[in-house]
């Protein structure tokens, strides 16, 4: 201590207070950056040429954060192509999710009584609460998209080939973790959307043979989702999956650095991997070029996410409180699992013959009786793990040593076909199914469908969105030319309702067709001073010729903000 003090006094005597302070501060700064003085950092940010000897490699050898980054890249991978920075971006969105997630955790309790009021509280009582929630949700969806695109890019440029097979494998794991992260967060708002999407998701596990029911109970904490299930999903969402994610991101990235980012296919001889053989003239130093490039990339990407959150992105929905007793019409899993729902909708073991040939039914019968395998079990339980297995084994079953596009016509064609199939199943996973082919269309009774389109219990409701003042009290016939004075939006919606009914009358499928004599009324009642009830009544004749009446109601409060 005495010696340190002596040195300081000596320095003060010889150079004066200002210079001493500057030198000491710079010294601390250099320790903090593991070897870069303030002037070095300034030089990096100004784009100055590297000094000789190059002090800028010191953080790479001395410090942790830069040690895990290479000190130079091959020039060929520094443009947008071939990586599009998708892996880098995935990692940063993961960080964004952690930051916004911690913010949301502060205001959230994983209990059925508290969760939903907490969500309302976050949106109505916490500054930045809605913004953070929307950003977290948008980030989660963007992460699924970007991780998938990252995998697709890796496939197209054949970067999974030797020696990067294992990197690809950890990547497949990270894709699954991303989806599970997103899915486990789905339940937490504890609204109808959350409750039923997760009920559907976990019921897939329930259908699995042998361990299925056990896995289901372990996930839900009880046969049905309740307090136990919510707590488990919360712990999986904030602890288990992020931890596994961090571990595999580390392994994945270690492999990326170890083998180097693979060069564009056309730059290498067939069967060679030259990513780590970078001649000095091809080197792009991490500092300043890669670093500034990355800072720019993160800043722009986050700005796009933040701007999206407050502009075109509709925001994270919050439907009515979870109600295990009421299943909303057309409950769906999150969109990135639509393909799974599409798979389950495949009606036969061998769905490629027209079903009226009879052979499809015989095949189904054979499998069900002899092997105990129904189409649902096959497509919902057996196939999805096989799809993941297929992704895992891609590097090992691809015999082609070449990474060049021209040599990989078969692989890329198969890849595109796979993508198209997933897209087709995704479309089929929606309640309305695939346009044209009609696959996956589970819409039923036409009157219910009309009501679902215009006055659903959950989600956007066209009728509720009519401004309160224009919901004129009285019973309005649903006719083409309804003309209620001073209620243009009411008139328009009724007109659309009539159009929709006429459209349904013209369908070819009798089960989905509305009878030609169908009529409807929209009755608006003043229930309380600032509350109206709307009742849609559809009178029609069903396929058997019996007169039917369908009614569905909704309540609209003056200040509920549906019109916005």
């Amino acid at each position: 201590m005495a010696i340190v003090g002596q040195k300081l006094v000596q320095q003060l005597k010889t150079t004066g207070l200002k210079a001493t302070l500057a030198q000491r501060l710079d010294d601390g700064f250099t320790r903090f950056t593991s070897g870069l003085s303030w002037n070095d950092v300034r030089g990096v940010l100004r784009g100055d040429p590297a000094p000789r000897p190059n002090t800028r490699v010191k953080p790479h050898t001395e410090g942790f954060w830069f040690h895990i980054r290479p000190s130079f890249y091959h020039e060929a991978v520094t443009a947008l192509y071939p990586t599009f920075r998708l892996g880098f971006l995935s990692a940063w969105i993961f960080v964004l999710e952690i930051i916004t997630g911690i913010f949301l955790m502060i205001f959230y309790t994983p209990s059925p009584g508290a969760a939903y009021p907490n969500m309302i509280d976050i949106m109505t009582n916490v500054p930045f609460g809605k913004f953070m929630r929307d950003l977290h949700r948008l980030g989660a969806e963007a992460m699924v998209v970007i991780v998938t695109l990252h995998m697709w890019r890796t496939f197209v440029t054949a970067s999974y080939k030797k020696p990067r097979q294992f990197t690809w494998f950890t990547g497949v794991l990270l894709l699954i973790i991303t989806m599970f992260l997103s899915f486990s967060g789905y339940l937490l708002p504890w609204d109808q959307l959350a409750f039923w999407a997760v009920t559907i998701g976990t019921s897939m596990a329930d259908a699995a043979p042998l361990a299925g029911p056990t896995i289901n109970v372990l996930l839900r904490g009880a046969p049905e989702i309740g307090a136990g299930g919510l707590l488990r999903f919360y712990l999986m969402h904030v602890l288990l999956f992020p931890l596994i994610g961090v571990v595999f991101v580390a392994v994945h990235y270690y492999k990326v650095v170890r083998f180097g980012i693979s060069l564009p296919p056309e730059m290498e001889a067939v069967g060679e991997d030259t990513a780590r053989k970078v001649t000095p003239d091809k080197r792009v130093n991490f500092m300043p070029d890669i670093l500034t490039n990355e800072l720019m990339y993160v800043a722009v990407a986050f700005a796009i996410l933040a701007i999206s959150t407050v502009t075109w992105y509709a925001g994270a929905p919050l439907e009515n409180h979870a109600n295990p007793l009421v299943t909303p019409q057309h409950t769906v899993a999150p969109w990135y699992f639509y393909w799974l729902q599409g798979l389950i909708k495949i009606p036969h073991i061998f769905p490629f013959f027209p079903s009226d040939w009879g052979i499809t039914a015989s095949i189904d019968g054979f499998f069900a009786n002899v092997l105990g395998l129904t189409p649902k079990t096959l497509w919902g339980i057996v196939i999805p793990p096989l799809v993941i297995l297929l992704l895992v084994v891609v590097p090992y079953i691809d015999p082609n040593p070449s990474r060049r596009y021209a040599d990989r016509k078969v692989a890329i064609t198969l890849g595109v076909l796979f993508e198209l199939l997933i897209l087709y199943l995704t479309l089929g996973g929606r309640p309305q199914g695939v346009p044209v082919t009609g696959f996956g269309d589970v819409r039923g009774d036409p009157a219910t469908e009309v009501a679902q389109d215009f006055i659903p219990d959950e989600g956007e409701s066209i009728i509720k969105a009519i401004p309160y003042d224009q919901l004129v009290v009285g019973t309005h016939e649903v006719v083409e030319d309804l003309n209620v004075p001073d209620a243009p939006e009411l008139n328009t919606v009724v007109h659309e309702l009539r159009d929709e009914m006429i459209k349904k009358m013209q369908l070819s499928d009798p089960a989905k067709k509305l009878s030609n004599d169908a009529t409807a009324t929209l009755a608006v009642t003043q229930l309380q001073d600032n509350l109206k009830s709307v009742l849609l009544t559809i009178n029609y004749t069903d396929a058997e010729g019996t007169a039917k009446q369908f009614t569905k109601g909704a309540w609209v409060h003056k200040d509920a903000g549906h019109a916005e």
């Binding site: 940010l45 784009g47 520094t78 443009a79 947008l80 192509y81 599009f84 009584g113 939903y116 009021p117 309302i120 949106m123 109505t124 009582n125 916490v126 500054p127 930045f128 609460g129 809605k130 913004f131 300043p288 070029d289 500034t292 490039n293 800072l295 720019m296 993160v298 800043a299 722009v300 990407a301 986050f302 700005a303 933040a306 701007i307 959150t309 407050v310 009515n320 409180h321 109600n323 229930l527 309380q528 001073d529 600032n530 509350l531 009830s533 909704a554 309540w555 609209v556 409060h557 003056k558 200040d559 509920a560 903000g561």
Partner: protein, 318 residues
């Protein structure tokens, strides 16, 4: 194709990188600033939106659970439930959402009912308490049943959020309550509004009969307003009056089986107890009455003195 190639092989210069990064960073900061400033007003607006949606959800629960006793318009239903939408209960307030529940609520008229009851809390809290935990005693014996408990915490079927929503909905009547008298008013606390059969002074024998309707187990199936609440067999609140009507009723005379037609109210009551299957009432609380449900052994099991006391009590129920 060339443009595409140009884009994907574009390497931004150092200046472009620094500038683009700065622009992105500043854009992010601006968005945060705008959100921060707009949240000052937006939080309150969203709060109002969600309160309003709570009232909408409460309207559904009310229609499903409450309307059958209190009426869809909240005016009350005779002998089932009192008015909720009347000014004497909700009072009157202006420009508020879920009266007494939100910023800006302003009572114009206080609830006289809550004052009578000595309730010092807010209206919405009173409603919440009654919806959730019911009214466990028959302070007002005029109603067929006591107010049930609706909260799951007390054995009902509503979740906490549903209890809150429906309470907000009821309190929302305070904005434009009924002020006319064509509603079903609750009885004065402790007195009972409508005349009750038990208000008639009873002799010692009749008092014994009143105890017997319970000790013999009649209360398992029958109701006498203010005494017991069975909901299987016919209501006996006014059984003396009914019995008098029966003896001149053609429908009764035509349907008596295996027994002589009663000619006095007393005979009718005796016959109904000793030979329950002689004549079956058409209407019971849970639909059509069924033969064979009431025990047919009372002639043997009830001692004569007790039976006389029982009948003499029932004959006071006019």
């Amino acid at each position: 194709m060339n443009l595409f190639k140009k884009i994907i092989t574009y390497r931004p210069s150092f200046t472009v990188r620094i500038l683009a990064g700065l622009v992105g960073f500043l854009a992010m900061l601006s968005v945060c600033t705008i959100v921060g400033i707009s949240d000052i007003g937006a939080l309150g607006e969203r709060d109002i939106n969600f309160k309003a949606r709570s009232i909408e959800a409460g309207a559904r629960t009310y229609a499903e659970q409450c309307a059958r006793c209190h009426g869809l318009d909240g005016k009350g239903i005779e002998a089932n439930g009192p008015t909720l939408s009347h000014i004497s209960f909700v009072g009157k307030s202006e420009e508020t959402i879920g009266a007494n529940n939100v910023l800006g609520s302003k009572d114009v008229t206080k609830s006289t009912r809550l004052t009578q009851l000595g309730w010092t809390g807010s209206l919405v809290n009173y409603v919440r308490g009654v919806v959730a935990a019911g009214i466990p005693i028959k302070s007002a014996a005029d109603w067929e049943t006591i107010h049930p408990t609706f909260s799951q915490a007390y054995g009902g079927n509503l979740r906490e959020d549903e209890v809150n929503n429906v309470s907000n909905y009821v309190a929302n009547w305070a904005l434009a309550p009924y002020e006319s008298d064509d509603v079903v008013m609750p009885p004065e606390p402790g007195t009972g509004g409508a005349p009750r059969p038990t208000a008639v002074p009873l002799s010692a024998e009749q008092e014994k009969g009143k105890e017997l309707v319970v000790s013999l187990g009649c209360n398992a199936c029958h109701a006498i307003r203010g005494v017991m609440n069975g909901a299987v067999g016919p209501n006996m609140t006014n059984i003396a009056t009914i019995a008098e009507g029966k003896v001149t009723d053609e429908q009764y005379k035509a349907n008596v089986k295996d027994q002589p037609v009663a000619t006095t109210a007393e005979e009718y009551i005796v016959q109904s107890i000793y030979h329950p299957n002689a004549y079956i009432e058409p209407q019971c609380p849970q639909g059509a009455c069924a033969a064979g449900i009431m025990p047919q052994t009372y002639e043997q099991s009830i001692p004569a003195a007790d039976f006389t006391a029982l009948v003499s009590y029932l004959l006071t129920l006019k």
